[in-house]
Amino acid sequence: MMNDATPRLAQKKQHIIRREEGMQVSSWHAFTGTLKRDLLLVFRRRSDVVNPLLFFSIAVTLFPLGISPEPDFLAQIAAGVLWVSALLATLLSLDSLFQQDMADGSLEQLVISPHPLAVMVLAKVLVHWLVTGLPLTLLAPMLAVMMFLPEEGYSTLFLTLLLGTPTLSLVGAIGAALTVGLRRTGVLMTLLILPLYIPVLIFGTGAVVSAVNGMAVAGHLAIMGAMLMTALVMAPLAAGAALRISLNG
């Protein structure tokens, strides 16, 4: 192995400024590289993953204690309680999406990397969903048992969360990107994002209630799928633009 810097610098010189030489950078590598790095970071700080799940469980558990442990009553509010708690758990976890990267300077490295910023944002949002939305979706049926959700509702609850939580992560990334440059975000992000979450909530709970009442849910699910697709295309672009604005400040 070479020990002095000179031979490698000479090698470097050869592909300086020559893009045509096949050394073109690949956005796919950048995407997987960022995905791996963020997953590794989550793995090193596992307590961050547990927090939204713990919040979700506690919030759902408090309803039977606070309102009524009556099975018939709980069955009626189950879909709404589960969905609202999942939504709030996602919202709370979004604060940290870009904050660390902003503080340590790796966000500006992402912005000046020769890749579309939307692709990089998508990698970060995917990690966020994998460690927040997906576990919430998997945990929800267990909490649904506690809430006496009628069994017709289980598959629909699971499906709506599977379609809805990625939408929440994607839309939330816009708010996180807009507020990342501020010293104290406080409730600003919640105010910005919550109105956009309401359609997801309405169709999510609507679908579960319909399923429990024996009605068709395909329409609800189709609309949730459409919302996910729209968010998938638009949200990374919007969040990327928002990040550039935040870095400018």
């Binding site: 192995m1 070479m2 020990n3 810097a5 000179t6 490698r8 610098l9 000479a10 090698q11 470097k12 010189k13 592909h15 300086i16 400024i17 893009r19 050394m23 073109q24 950078v25 590598h29 950048a30 997987t32 590289g33 960022t34 791996k36 790095r37 590794l40 970071l41 090193r44 700080r45 660390q100 503080a103 340590d104 300077g105 790796s106 500006e108 490295q109 992402l110 912005v111 000046i112 990397s113 020769p114 890749h115 550039r244 870095l247 400018n248």
Partner: protein, 215 residues
Amino acid sequence: MQELLSGQNLACERDDRLLFSKLDFKLHCGEVLQIAGPNGSGKTSLLRILAGLLPDFDGTLFFQGKPVQSDSDHFRENLLFIGHQPGIKLNLTPEENLRWYQSLYHPADTDQIYQALAQVKLTGFEDVPCYTLSAGQHRRVALARLFLHAAPLWILDEPFTAIDQGGVKEIEQLIADHAQQGGSVILTTHHNLSLPVELNVIQLGQSHQSETEQA
């Protein structure tokens, strides 16, 4: 010498304060350019403008004679920027940090990363979490990218912060080598540079009429 980066009539205003205006400069291949000036004179702002992080300015930037906006991906492929923050994840090891950086440009194998870390005197620290390292070592991890990434244009914001005297000499040598190989370096520092190559200086903050002078 081929022209690498140039700016025409640059002006920047931050918070209603004019940092600089009518700033022209030309940077050719093989040149080192130091941005000098007292604290708060806009050195970092200028570097961020040049790196494309601060779109809020007047004037035009040209990379290889063409406006930067016309092919900004090409510009960014050829740029290595190390900012005020070293951009190091404390929960990752130096190797993992560099692996991520290289995934953004040209993926590097473990051997290359270990060699680069050896160049910045971090042998033996490759796989310890960065939170156990000192501030100077964090900067060394960031500077190891200079050995991995074959970009012709380096923009370095205070690269000597927290680096010991021996390290400063090595980085100066690295900058000089890069210039002699045909690369260009733009940097800010409060340290007195002793380089074997010609050093151009942009002095900020004396008056609004900033001039380029040969040092």
